[in-house]
Symmetry: none
Subunit: 208 residues, 4 copies
Amino acid sequence: MQELTKRQQEIIAKSLGVIAERGIQNLTIKNIAREIGVTEPALYRHFPSKFALLDAMLDDLEEDTDRLFREVKANAGDDIDHIRAFLYHRLVQFSVTPALARVIFAEEIFQDDPRLAAKMIHLQRRHRAQIMAMIEAGQRAGTIRADIEAQELFLIIFGPIRLLIKQWAHTDRIFDLPERGKRLLDAFHKLLSTRLAGSPKAFPSLTQ
Amino acid sequence: MQELTKRQQEIIAKSLGVIAERGIQNLTIKNIAREIGVTEPALYRHFPSKFALLDAMLDDLEEDTDRLFREVKANAGDDIDHIRAFLYHRLVQFSVTPALARVIFAEEIFQDDPRLAAKMIHLQRRHRAQIMAMIEAGQRAGTIRADIEAQELFLIIFGPIRLLIKQWAHTDRIFDLPERGKRLLDAFHKLLSTRLAGSPKAFPSLTQ
Amino acid sequence: MQELTKRQQEIIAKSLGVIAERGIQNLTIKNIAREIGVTEPALYRHFPSKFALLDAMLDDLEEDTDRLFREVKANAGDDIDHIRAFLYHRLVQFSVTPALARVIFAEEIFQDDPRLAAKMIHLQRRHRAQIMAMIEAGQRAGTIRADIEAQELFLIIFGPIRLLIKQWAHTDRIFDLPERGKRLLDAFHKLLSTRLAGSPKAFPSLTQ
Amino acid sequence: MQELTKRQQEIIAKSLGVIAERGIQNLTIKNIAREIGVTEPALYRHFPSKFALLDAMLDDLEEDTDRLFREVKANAGDDIDHIRAFLYHRLVQFSVTPALARVIFAEEIFQDDPRLAAKMIHLQRRHRAQIMAMIEAGQRAGTIRADIEAQELFLIIFGPIRLLIKQWAHTDRIFDLPERGKRLLDAFHKLLSTRLAGSPKAFPSLTQ
DNA sequence: AATGAATGAGTGTTCATTCAT
DNA sequence: TATGAATGAACACTCATTCAT
């Protein structure tokens, strides 16, 4: 989790580009090198191995997500607002950097290296824990319906978002992801909030 | 979509075995051949290419799903019952043949071959259409809440199920998938049904 | 230590050829393949890895040596005759297959793989034990001088032979190895035998 | 054979360290640079190529050996004493700088570059000539038995020493090399000296 | 005197596929 | 219906070396 050099950041960025355009199974050293305009060995000056590159990529991803969690929590609103804001800005993030979506869904491939698989699982577990904590807090505070267990609510909230992202990625990003996401989040509001109907809060814009 | 020979069926079955045990990225001709106990060229007697094999595998999958749809619809109950029954039996199917779960989530890899990608998308589109039709029928019949569009309801129903399956696969199938699925489906009942509370129908057992 | 196929034997033979001509550090898959006249992947049909190839080569070597030991012991003569016969025929073997000499002296390179290093050491230990046993038997029988410990005698016998082989290999095999060996073995006779002077036995010719 | 700078000497010393710890086949520019704590290109300030480095290393080696010869000859004693003293102090040298042993036995690798190979051979030839001269002088003076040719005596003296060093290096230097060497040298005394039994001279300690 | 960034050639290895038998 | 033997293309990675700074 150390600081990345400029070049390392560039490599990760271009790698995400390769993933976005050709899928993660085509994220080869050769393809990355070609994208950057150098030969393959050049990459090894910046990352000691492909594993290290992917590892740094996942770290980057985790940091991004953590930052989003922090920013969302720093804003006003109750727990349900926080969850909705997190998910919304996540979708915005994806729509800006579509490769992230493909990375998220690439567990199958990370599965190949046990260390990356472990990291991916750890990463997902942490995010799940964050969301779960918000849900439970909302249930205790009475803003989220409590007749369904938090465990199930997590699936009900996160599952549709994931599926939406997947549909978006698979339809060549034909629709506006955040826009469709809003409708989904409104539905969440209707389904899960204990507040009487009434338009839910707008999403605060974040610094990044 | 032609009839498969006994040997072809065996190859597909063993291939699913390889996927279940080692992931789809390890579904190589060599691994399949080893599993069956023949040499690699032998496979080419039965399928002209790896593509053809995967193609047949997807056809198989589609047929399975279609059969499940038919059986579910043949049973009594309203639309919401049908949807719940379909999803429940899907989970049972997965828990019996875990490889199916990995195939479902392997779109990334099928993506490599445009023909397979198209087929995968077509397949998913068809299933989505079936579910959507049920949802819309339920909304018209007044059994499913109509204040959320069918489009969103589809995400809200299918997304959590997919995520549950993924969690199950990624935790080495540590929990009982159909059992956890039931709790999720109960939650769906609470969220989506217009019927007053009351235990939802039990799931009919199907022939297969 | 299983049976080798014809092709495997050929590969080992050609590999020895590569070693003889270009040194063991140039024993690359590419060079072997080129020598045989196939592409590199073809070799992997016959040996699963380069390690397996080298492993089989060492096994072959050990078998050869063991056979020589057996044949030598089957001949008449006392222990000192056996030792001398073993060494002489070893030199003949080397002069026929010069690559063997380079393999013998290639421990440095085998050292790279811990499994091969272990095998090489095991192999040398076994041969040393065989020679030592002969020396000690000779000392007990009174045919070999006993005022020097067997341990030292082993060095005194084997060391010069090794050095002679090395000189021969390093001078591009300019001299007749067995011929020069004979003179060395005669010297051994003078130095180590308790028998009165007199020409030592001639070397029986072996079947192979 | 020009003077080496301080930095060049350090590089050679660290290179010997790399050889001692990881073998000569791991003597890469990268490993040397890492050992010294600089980047790879830095080495090229001090040696124009890896060849030049190895070349200087061999020169160093030769100089060391020559110095030992001179010092040994400067001491009292007859030829057989000189030979024994030379060998003994060589063993001491090796036991102090184990890398030297690995260099000595790395001819295989030097073989790759014809210039280094030539140098190595030249070096060995010169040492051989020195030893041979001593042997022949001893034979003329009547202190070394003359019924075996000097050529063979060289093998009989140098071969066992080399083999001992090799055993020592290959057993991770488990035994005391000079100590075991003494016993070997005592055996030489018994075998080669014409002097009647009686403890051979002790080894003079040298200045270095 | 040293570095950051790069390279051409080469390493062992795996892949889907072909072909003669 | 299967095998033994092979292949072209690709894979991640290492090597000694160069060059601008």
